[in-house]
Amino acid sequence: MRIGTSVLVHNGLAYQSYNWSIYRPLGNVQGVIDALDEYECDEIALIFPTRNDQSIASKTNDLDLVKNICSTSPMSIGGGIRSFDDIPYLRELPLERFIVSSAAVLNNWKLIEQLKYHFGPQAVQSILPVKYDREELYVFLCSTNKFIPLNKIDLNAIAELSNEVIIYDTNADGFMDRFKFNLISKLCLDPSKTIITGGVGPKCIKVAQKIGISACMIDNRTLHSENSINALKRHARLS
């Protein structure tokens, strides 16, 4: 099981988040990447928080920043990959994988197929930011900035077309050990092709390992030594 981290990138700086809405600044992106390289982070997801109809192509400063990142860890990027026009901007980035959200939720299979054509089937991950509201499950649609009912999306197709699916528990975002594992069974996903994030901590790591989750992405405090990648990997080894 891989243990990685997600880092938000906005206007040239790195952040982590609480509750899907509050951003905690981490500082210079390359500095954060250097620390994660040193921690031997299994992978780093760079997320551009994108709402409404913004596309990744419009974030030229952040794209330039990512283009110049120097890292020896596997990296992925997500946020605003919405159309074929975005693909040329992705080609120059030093990244292995690309994360789609709205494209997956809105059944934009042609875009996903194009990403697979250009970067390989192993390169495409879908992310589903989810929340519970009165026992019902909702998925966040970034392009409209709204949560929509789970039954409005074709989960089977998303799982089929993506190399891996990332489940982001937005209720637990930023908290320690609050990720709800019943999301996996509720979404009927294959654990071996599922990545979890949002409220992941040491106890979650142990549970995730037991059920065969593909990867855990730590959403907060990975630069604190007690919550560092190394500390969490020790939890996985000792479980």
């Binding site: 860890s73 390989g120 390169a123 190399n163």
Partner: protein, 206 residues
């Protein structure tokens, strides 16, 4: 020492260049086959075999790579760049590859994805005897130990006599993870994204 990176618009060129730059080598991105002149070239590859080979054939690099190898110059293929050194891939309905090495590429058993890290333990003495690799120009380490990053759905079934090879993993034993034959080396893993091991790997390989 000069190294060429073949750039056909597919592949994680920036990452490979950043990785090689750490050794303070003279690294050139080569976009035209007539500029493939260095003693060593790296063939990175990300994507799938069909489109990649189409682009390689259309660009004229297919013949340039074969000539490069025939002349005894060193070639390192990475990930898809390693796979295309063989004869045939099942990907994209069947794709003819460069046939520099004998063997084929197939979908990993059970439709598995191989995403993650594997431990590797490489003895440099095992492959340096022919003088192509492990020359000690950047490292005197005799053992390269660490973990390497893999991210692929198709894998190599090698059918060639080689100087050195490793299995993909303890669970995927029939597939090849690293292969060295004369002046050709290939890695299914991404050394440019394998952190400290990746840096030690290229230092030990050169």
């Amino acid at each position: 020492m000069k190294i060429d990176i073949i750039d056909i618009g597919f592949g994680n060129i920036s990452s490979v260049k950043n990785w090689l730059d750490q050794l303070e080598l003279e690294v050139t991105r080569v976009t035209h086959p007539e500029n493939l002149t260095s003693e060593m070239c790296v063939l990175p590859g990300v994507g799938s075999a069909g489109p990649y080979m189409e682009r390689l054939n259309a660009s004229g690099f297919t013949e340039a790579i074969k000539y490069h190898v025939l002349k005894g110059r060193r070639l390192l293929g990475i990930c898809l760049g390693f796979q295309i050194l063989f004869e045939h891939s099942d990907e994209d309905g069947g794709t003819e590859l460069l046939s520099i090495l004998r063997g084929k590429v197939e979908r990993i058993d059970g439709n598995q994805n191989h995403n993650g890290w594997e431990n590797l333990d490489i003895a440099v003495n095992s492959f340096k005897f022919k003088g192509y690799w492990g020359r000690g120009s950047h490292s005197s380490k005799q053992f390269l130990r660490g973990r390497a990053f893999y991210n692929h759905e198709y894998a190599v079934l090698n059918n060639d006599q080689c100087d050195y090879s490793t299995r993909l993993s303890s669970n995927l034993r029939k597939y090849t993870g690293l292969l060295i034959k004369d002046n050709v080396a290939g890695a299914q893993f991404h050394p440019e994204k394998s952190q400290l091991f990746g840096i030690n790997f290229i230092k030990g390989l050169l």
